[in-house]
Subunit: 293 residues, 4 copies
C-alpha cells in the first residue's frame, strides 16, 4: 500500500522508517529534499510538493513544525487539497492548535476528503523504537482507517472523541505537564545541590519510587547531570508549545499560573539566545543560573 | 525488643501497628492518650510524656506534626533527653526543617545519645501496607541500628549522607514535587474540561503512559474526579510543607518560582477556610474555582 | 471645519463633545446609532457606516474597542478607505496592537491617505474634563495636522516617534503599569487590613506622600474602600489590554512576570463572571477573596 | 536636651546631623565607632554600647539594620534596658517586623520605660534634606513626646494607631510597593526598548503625567538609564524587606503573588552575587538580563 508522507524532521524520519519496515511504500515530501536520502531508496518516491505527495493515495500523513506550516501544506498553493482524492484521509500528527485542526477538518470535509488529528508523545528515540503514544480525535471511520497504520508507529493509540481538535488539546496539555515536570525537577535538584546533596542521587531516588515514570527517569537524569547535549527537542519548539498552552488557556478562560511560569521560563531562554539548545537546558540552566550555581 | 514510640497520628498509628506485628513492644506516647487504644493492648505501655516513652529503651521513634512539636519532645520540660540512655538512638521520622534536625542532632550528641533523620514518603494507606519509602541521613552506625526497624515500616530505606538534615531536604523537596504535580494536573485537566474533554479519560491516559507513576495515578484520579473526601492529608499540613520548602529556598538562596506558586496556592486555600480539607482539594478547587467551573 | 468621528462609547462621547465645543462639525458613526443623541443635534451629521463618516473630510478620528473593530472600520466592506480622500488623515485613538497600527498605516499609505496613532490615557471623567494625555506616533506632517484637534481633547500631546505602532506600545505599557498598581495596592491594603490597620488611612498616606500621583490617589481610594461602582472601565477591557501586553511581550521576546501575573488576575475575574464589573473590582476582589476577607 | 542615638549608617548619619542642627546633644553609639567622626564633635558624646548611649537620657533613638540587631540593642547584654531610666522613651526607627516591635514594646513596659515605632520612608538624600516621612504607632503620650524630635528629621509624622507594630506594617507594605514599582517600570521600559522606543522618554512621560510621584520620577530615571551607581540602598537590604513582607503575608494569611514575585526577583539578585549592588540594579538588570538586552 502506498501512503503520502509529509515532513521528514527528527520525528518524521524514524516514523517513516517504521512504516517502510511495515511494508508501506511512501511518497515523501520534505522542504529540504535531501533528508529523504536517510530512507531506503526503493521504498520511496521523492515529491516536490505536498500536493504531489498526496496524489493518488488514500492516506497522507503529515508531521510538521507548527500551525502555519501545516495550514500551508493543506490549503496552500501546493497543498494537499490540490490533488487529494475524494474519500482520502489526512492523518495530521503535528502538535498544532485545536482551532487550526478544526479549520483543516472543515476544509477537508468541504473538499470531500477527511482529517484525523493524531498527535504523538515521545522523543525521536521513542519514535525509532516504535514507542510513541498516539492520541486521536475525529470520526469513527477515519480512526478505523488510521489504526493499522498508526500501530506501525506507536505502542498505543488512544481515542479522545470526535472533535477535530480534541487530541491536540491533550497533546498540548501533556507538553505543558512535561515542561512543568522539568521545572519541578530543576528546582528540587538545585535546592538539594545547595544543601550539598548529590543531584543525581536525588533524581534516582524519585525516579525509582514515587515518580517512577519515564518522564522523571529520563529527563530527571539529564537535569540532575546538567547534561544538555545532544539537543533532542529545541527550546524554541518548547516555547512554541508553551505558547500554544497559553493560547488555549486564553481561548477557554482557564487561568494557568503554572502554564505562564513555564511560558516565561522558555521565553527567557529564547530571549537569552538559547532557542536552539535543548528544552531541558532552557529550564535546567534557567533555574541554576538564577540560583548562581 | 522494646522501643519508644512518640506520635500516634494518621501516620504513626499504622507504623506502630507494623512494628507490633514485627514483634516489637512499644512504649507509646501521644498528646491525646486515647489514640493508643487503636493498638493491641498487650503490645504497648502507655506513657504520659515523651520522657517516659524514652526511658529504658535503646531506640525511640518519633512521628510528629512540625518543628516545634519535635523540638519540644526532645529538649522540652518532659522531653526525651530527660531520660534517654547514653548511646541510645532517636529515629526522627517527622517532616521537619534541616536546621532543626541539625540542632536536635547536636543536642543528642551533647547528651551522649544520637539522632537519625528518617522522614518518609507515603500516605496513611501506604504506611498501613508497609509501602513507605524512608530517607535517612546521619551516622553510619545509627543507620545500621535503625535499618532492621525501618524495614518493618517501609519498602525501602535510602541513604542521603551524614548531614543530620539531608534526608529532610529530600523529604521537603519531594513534597514540593508532589504539590507541583497536583497543580500541574489540576491545570491540565481543567483546561481539557473547558475543551469538552473528559477529565478522567485524560488523567487515565497520562497515568498509564508517560506519567505512569503512583503520584499521577492516585492523585490523578482524585483530581480528575474532583473527589476530595475522605481527607487524607490536610491542606494545613501541605501548607506547612510548602512553607518549609520556601524557608529552604531562602536559607540556601535558591529561587523557586514554582515553589512560591505552590506556597501561594496552599496559603490561599488556608486563608479561604479550607485548611482542614484535603490538600488535593486545596489545589484542585483552587484551579477550578479560578476557572469558574 | 468638519471631521469624521467613529465610535461613541464611554470615551468617544465626551471627546466628541469637546470637539463640538471647540467649534467642529462632526460626521458621526456608531454601531448603536442612538448614542449620537447625546450630542448636540445641530453640530452633527449621523452616518450609517464608517465610510460615510469619512467621506468629504480631511480628518477622521476613531475611538473603538479593539483590533478587529478598528481594522473593520478601515479596510472592511463599509470602511473608511472606501470613501477617504487622497491626503486625508485618520487619527486612530483606540488602544490597539502596534502591528495592526502598522498594517493600517500601510493600507492608508497605499490608498494615498495617512494614519496617525494617537491613543490616550484617562478615564471618561478625564475625557469630559479635557484632561486626557495623548501619545502620538507617525509622520511629522500628520502630527502637525492633528495637533490643534488633539489639543481640544487632552491636556497634552506627547510624541513617540515615527513608527506607526510606537504610541500604542506606550499606551499598552501604561495600562500594564496601571493594572500592576491596582494589584500592588490591593495586596498592600489587604495586608494592612489583616493587621487591623485602616485600609483608607494607609491609601491616603501613600497617595499623599511617596505615591502622590493620580493613579494612587483615585484608584487607591476605590481599592481601599472596596468601592467598585459605578463601573468605569470593564474588567473585560482590562483583560483585553493585559492580553495585548502579553502579545507584545511575546512579539518582542520580553519576559514580563508581572505582566503575566496581571494577565492571570484579569483572566480569573473574567472566568469567574466578573467581566462586566470594573477592573478595580477584578483586581481588588481577586486579592481579598483569596485572602478570605 | 540630650538624646541617645544608636546606629550611624547611611540613614542614621543625616538624621543625627539634623538633630544636632536643631540643637540636640547626642550620645551616639555605632558598631563601627569611627562613623561618629562625621558628626560635629562638640555636639556628641561617643559611647561604647547601646546601654551607655541610653544612660541618663529621657529619649533614645535607634536606626539599625534588622530585627536581630534591634533586639540585641534593647535586650542584649549591653542593651538599652540595662541603663534606661523609668519613664524614658525608645523611638525605634528601623524597618523591623511588627512582632519584634510588639516584643520590644512589652519588654520596655515591663522595665518601666516605653517604646514607639517610628519607621521612615526616604533614601539618605531625603534624610539629609529633612524630607523623610515618619510613620508612628504606640501610645498617645509617647507620640506627643516624640513629635517635636521627629519633626526635626522629617517633613511629616503620620499616626497609625496604638499597636506597637502598626507603623512597621505600613513601612513594610510601602517597601513592597516601591519594589513592585521598580519591577513594573523595568518591565514596561524594557518592553518599550524592544520596540525601539527611548526608555528615558517613556519614563519621563509617565513620571510627568499619570505617575507623577517621586517614586516614578527618581527611580524611573535610574531604571530607564540603567544607572545603577552610586549604590543607595543595597539589594541585600531590599531582599530583607521582601522577606519581611513575605513573613507578614504568612503571619496574616494574605496571599501576595506580587509580593512573592518581588521576593524572588531580589533573591535571584542576591543568589547571583548582586547583594551589594543597588536594589534598582537588582530589579532593572534582572529584567533586562532575562530579556537578553
Amino acid at each position: 500500500m502506498k501512503i503520502g508522507f509529509i515532513g521528514l524532521g527528527n520525528m518524521g524520519i524514524p516514523m517513516a522508517k517504521n512504516l517502510i519496515a511495515a511494508g508501506y511504500q511512501l511518497q515523501v515530501y520534505n522542504r529540504t529534499a535531501e533528508k529523504a536520502d536517510e530512507l531506503e531508496a526503493s521504498a520511496i518516491t521523492k515529491c516536490n510538493t505536498p500536493a504531489e505527495a498526496a496524489a493518488n493515495v488514500t492516506v497522507v500523513i503529515s508531521m510538521l513544525a507548527d500551525d502555519d506550516t501545516v495550514k500551508e501544506s493543506v490549503v496552500g498553493k501546493d497543498g494537499i487539497l490540490n490533488t487529494f482524492q475524494k474519500g482520502a484521509l489526512h492523518i495530521s500528527m503535528s502538535t498544532i492548535s485545536p482551532d487550526i485542526a478544526q479549520f483543516l477538518s472543515d476544509q477537508h470535509k468541504a473538499a470531500g476528503s477527511s482529517y484525523l488529528a493524531a498527535p504523538v508523545f515521545g522523543r525521536p528515540e521513542a519514535a525509532a523504537a516504535k514507542k510513541l503514544w498516539v492520541c486521536v480525535s475525529g470520526s469513527k471511520e477515519d480512526k478505523e482507517t488510521a489504526n493499522p497504520i498508526l500501530e506501525c508507529i506507536g505502542q498505543g493509540v488512544v481515542d479522545f472523541g470526535e472533535d477535530a481538535g480534541g487530541a491536540n488539546v491533550v497533546k498540548i496539555a501533556g507538553n505543558f505537564m512535561i515542561m512543568s515536570s522539568l521545572e519541578m525537577m530543576a528546582e528540587a535538584f538545585t535546592l538539594a545541590e545547595k544543601f550539598n546533596l548529590d543531584r543525581s542521587k536525588v533524581a534516582e531516588f524519585f525516579g525509582s519510587t514515587i515518580f517512577n515514570a519515564p518522564i522523571y527517569q529520563n529527563y530527571g537524569r539529564l537535569i540532575a547531570n546538567k547534561q544538555y547535549e545532544p539537543v533532542g527537542f529545541k527550546a524554541r519548539l518548547g516555547y512554541k508549545d508553551a505558547r500554544l498552552a497559553f493560547k488555549l488557556a486564553q481561548q477557554s478562560e482557564t487561568p494557568m499560573p503554572l502554564g505562564t511560569l513555564i511560558h516565561n521560563r522558555l521565553l527567557t531562554a529564547v530571549a537569552k539566545g538559547l532557542g536552539d539548545r535543548d528544552w531541558v537546558e532552557a529550564v535546567g540552566r534557567g533555574v541554576t543560573d538564577d540560583a548562581g550555581v
